[in-house]
Symmetry: C2
Amino acid sequence: MTVGTEWMIDAEGCKPDLLRDPNVVRGLCEQVIDDLSLRVVSPELWHEFPPPGGVTGLFLLTESHLACHTYPEDGVATFNLYCCRSRPEWNWAEQLTRLLGAQRVSVRSEIRGSASTYSQVGDAVGGRGGIER
Amino acid sequence: MTVGTEWMIDAEGCKPDLLRDPNVVRGLCEQVIDDLSLRVVSPELWHEFPPPGGVTGLFLLTESHLACHTYPEDGVATFNLYCCRSRPEWNWAEQLTRLLGAQRVSVRSEIRGSASTYSQVGDAVGGRGGIER
């Protein structure tokens, strides 16, 4: 029984200063939520890890959840968007290139709720109109 | 740059009464956290959806996050455990069979942080010593 789709987005080569700035990361997550008309149903959770660590944000949505982790020491940011309604469209590659300076963005999706479903894997090169799933 | 591993666990054929009981679902998540010595770094988030909906729980961990969604109307529970340290061992198939009455449990894992990594897909049949990754 399929209950939703999960997108896993991994961005590499990001600018460390942006990854450790909670306002930048929070703003990015809020833009995703606004653009996709997602509904937050409880207070969001944020945590700043001590240097050289980054930030973690978790949003509990009517549609399921959005999670973000940043790793300034590695130039990496990862996002999970788990959504129980039809596939949202957001240009992760373009936006993460613009907002975090990402040099490479990977977007993968997984169908959730059924053991008989299998993975889809896609790579999207930042700023070059890569594949979004 | 690899920054962690994410486990996606999908359980089907669960007992609806257990999936809509926040104490059962919370207890299960707390058992995962205790057994794997994970550290919760901010208040956990819980939401109960109106019937026939289930519950959602989000835990912000030092190691990343644990998320749980239940769908009593479909007999499904899904879990995400994102962990930035070495692979934790937890027998999801056995435990979800015991605690939720799951008839089938799928455990998948994804390496996070690198666009060059690809998916692993594994199925584990509840209560029969299925594959754990």
